[in-house]
């Protein structure tokens, strides 16, 4: 993945032969270019910033004045966060927040492990029908999850696990597999065959090769997909809404937030604080592991 670390070459000086008009134009474009870039950047950050400021303002203030008045009349409070998290007198978002973790962690680990095993088989073991099977799994990426929801719900009800975490773990893991297998397969194919051959000559079996040779080399790919899947599951609404119901026992924070927006659509002191409680984890993960995330995006985007 050399694309992310491409060397930054400085702009070469304008050739002496360049026509004067071009030279002038280039000088003109630069400030305009910067201005447009700044405008886009501001447009993209201001909405989030406004809500962030609001989440820290007293309820009365939020409801009567715009968040920009904060700069002339700054009043800060944590009451909104207290109310939105409080179980007894507030919205009790805390337990939904916990649910999000409980849902997300296995939903990331399970498909990662299963997909690594499958990707290994596709990349490094020769067997009949391999290519056909791989194409089928690759093609499954296009199945929209909507198509699966109702029959799956029926299956879960029949199995007696409806409304439990199991439904979400199984669903998210299944939905992740086609892309995960495809991505990890691509990464595994890039590992030189000689490395595996050498291990095999030393008497290593498939299990040892997998753990001792491949796994260390695969860490960046696993991290990339892991972050992808983490963000996807944490931010998911549809799957959770369908299988987990809306209660504090299993529903994740996105469901709680969507319901809050539906029932108390103008309670901005709660909505703003609630939104930030839900945003904080994926944004932190994203900022900490951005490098891996971008790498995964490029691998998925350019090869997919």
């Amino acid at each position: 993945m050399s694309t992310t670390s491409a060397p930054l070459t400085s702009t070469p000086p304008i050739a002496p032969g360049a026509p004067a008009a071009t030279k002038a134009k280039r000088k003109l474009t630069s400030p305009w270019a910067s201005l447009i870039a700044v405008v886009i950047a501001v447009l993209w950050t201001l909405p989030t910033f406004g809500l962030a400021i609001s989440s820290l303002r007293p309820e009365r203030q939020i409801k009567t004045t715009g968040w920009w008045t904060f700069f002339t009349d700054p009043q800060v409070t944590l009451d909104n966060y207290r109310e939105v998290l409080d179980v007894e007198n507030g919205e009790g978002l805390g337990s939904f927040f916990v649910n999000s973790f409980v849902i997300t962690i296995p939903s990331v680990l399970i498909p990662l492990c299963l997909a690594s095993l499958a990707a290994y088989a596709f990349a490094w073991i020769r067997f009949r029908g391999r290519d056909l099977l791989f194409i089928v799994i690759f093609a499954l990426q296009i199945v929209p999850i909507q198509v699966t929801l109702i029959p799956l719900l029926t299956l879960y009800v029949d199995a007696g696990i409806a409304g439990q975490f199991w439904t979400l773990w199984l669903s998210h893991s299944t939905f992740a597999l086609p892309l995960a297998i495809f991505l990890l397969h691509n990464f595994m194919k890039e590992i030189p065959a000689g490395l595996l051959e050498a291990a095999r000559v030393d008497g290593a079996g498939h299990v040892q090769i997998f753990f001792k040779v491949l796994l260390p080399l695969l860490t960046p790919a696993l991290a990339a997909f892991g972050i992808f899947q983490f963000l996807w599951v944490w931010n998911d609404l549809l799957v959770a809404l369908t299988f987990a119901g809306g209660g504090p026992d299993t529903a994740p924070i996105t469901v709680a937030l969507a319901n809050l927006s539906g029932t108390r659509g103008t309670a901005w002191h709660l909505l703003s604080a609630g939104a930030f409680v839900s945003i904080i984890v994926p944004v932190a993960i994203f900022l900490l592991l951005q490098r891996y995330f971008v790498r995964g995006l490029l691998a998925g985007g350019l090869k997919g």
């Binding site: 993209w44 715009g66 296995p106 799994i137 109702i150 498939h206 937030l257 951005q290």
Partner: protein, 322 residues
Amino acid sequence: MSTAEKFLEMFIAIGIFVAVVGVILFFAGRIGGRRGDRWVAFLYLAPAILMLAVGLIYPAARTIYQSFFDAAGTAFIGLDNYQTIFTSRDQLTVLRNTVLWVVVTPFVATAVGLLYAILVDKARLESFAKALIFLPMAISFVGASIIWKFVYEFRPDQVGVKQIGLLNQILVWLGGKPQQWLVESPWNTLFLILVMIWIQAGFAMTVLSAAIKAIPDDVVEAARLDGVTPFGMFRFVTLPSIRPAVVVVLTTIGIGTLKVFDIVRTMTGGQFDTSVVANEFYSQSFRSDNQGLGAALAVLLFVLVIPIVVYNVRQLRASEAR
């Protein structure tokens, strides 16, 4: 359930899962020699294939079958559900909105992403500038919807009532009257689309920026020596070089947009003529208890995704062949 119980259940689940993988690896480890390869492959693939068969292939087939049945899912009614989608007034609005989403979002998001990628390329603070645009990708659609709903917030135009939504306040500052952005059809759909553009532009920018950086320096250099204008550089050097990446970005955003559900549900709930196929699927299946129509809408989504994917694969093949 208490927090401790939830985490206990989680660890039990992970434990069961680790045990299953352990058994697989144990047996795979005992199979020796190249002849056993087939068995190792079978063991490694079995869990994934089992899950995909039960959790993806079977349900998809079942839904297609169900789309030919009535609301209760008992009487066979042929193509009636599909006829409803393409003839009833409500459903036609849903289709119109979906077309609007899929046409507008990919192109605008890609255009903004590309413009920004070019503007900040090799600039000072490039990675910081990129992170600003990219950050919305980490935010859930629900969170993004709330952020934008606040921007669109409307307060009646009365003396003593101040606007708290940024968009209406700007309008008031410019001397206009505050608007109910999310109520007036068909413009409200455009305001919902804006949220999706806001989320997806970062994706477009990241992929296209990497593609731009991959353009060989000597090509850029040669064009520069020929005295190409900045626009000419974009039109004749940059764009042709990154064309495959642009196609991938457009199609990826297009597919994502086709399935958009969270934004519509959180911002308007599909009211005021803003519903789209994915939202209508949910309403029909789980609110109106019209299983047949819900299934037909899900199948429609499936069918609409296919041509985009086929186009994408063809373009990739073409660019690889070159």
